[in-house]
Amino acid sequence: MKELAAVIAVVALLLAGVAGIVFGLDDRTTFVPSPAITIQGFLRTLSVERFDMALSYLDAGLESRVEPEELRRRWKPVQEGAGDIINVNGEWEVIRGDSAIAGASLKTADAGLCPVTMALHLENGVWKIARLDGLDTAALRLVRQGMAGGGN
């Protein structure tokens, strides 16, 4: 089948081209999700409680150590402090070589906007989350905000 061969050839050719752009030209934000978009996806996945799927956002080292149950445990205080999460937006990122810090904000029903900051690093051309302490910081901020008497 000529058409089949042609489609497969185009797919292979473009994959090679994209690999060249990502690995050869060091593209880190155009043809791969940027750090801010990565944590946005991660937080959205957590907000719908797909902890198993959220593991795919973690780097290989973290993914091998963390179980979905741990993600649930770390997310719970954020969820409880924030109430219903209306939206998650990746907002900013600072890239230094193969490392990045990115920030997203949770738009919540009870606590207004809640910022979350996370560290990432580049793994096989894709940004992956390197540490989960950003979730704990966000939870702590929400607790303090709750004790102070409401959202911003």
């Binding site: 489609v7 994209v18 043809f31």
Partner: protein
Amino acid sequence: MELHKIAIRVLFAYIFLLLIIRLSGKRTVAEGNTFDFVLALILGDTVDNAMWGEVPIAQFIVAAGTLVVIQLLVSAASYRNETLQAILEGSPTTFLRKGRLVREGLRRERISRRESEEMMRLGGGMEPDEWASVEAARLEHSGEPSVILRPWARPAQGQDRDALRRRRGT
């Protein structure tokens, strides 16, 4: 989000889809059957993710390419096997025969009387008082109505002229 990066991704996705859809033949964009419709729907969703940079472009290429390859294989298989074609594309439903609505067909496709009137207008440009000239009206697997006229209502053809001449002995 940097706007020029969105533009680059959109341009890339557009060129890629144009290439593979063009190479896979006209059937891919015909939306002629359920599978074509599903393909268009899923492709639309994958483009959306790629456009906003939510998935790596490589994943988008593999997902869209695989979908088009599956579509090509399925359409090739259904071309060779009529049973498979009937399963994938369904069969036409007759909803009007010899000028009368077929209740069974209407029920099967959940077509109201008003909708059947609309379909007859779309398929044959006919109002209910003209339905007597219809041999059969069908809802094709593409979702479009088709109308077959009774022999006496069909426009005259060359063979009719010949038959008339023979009858007259001219």
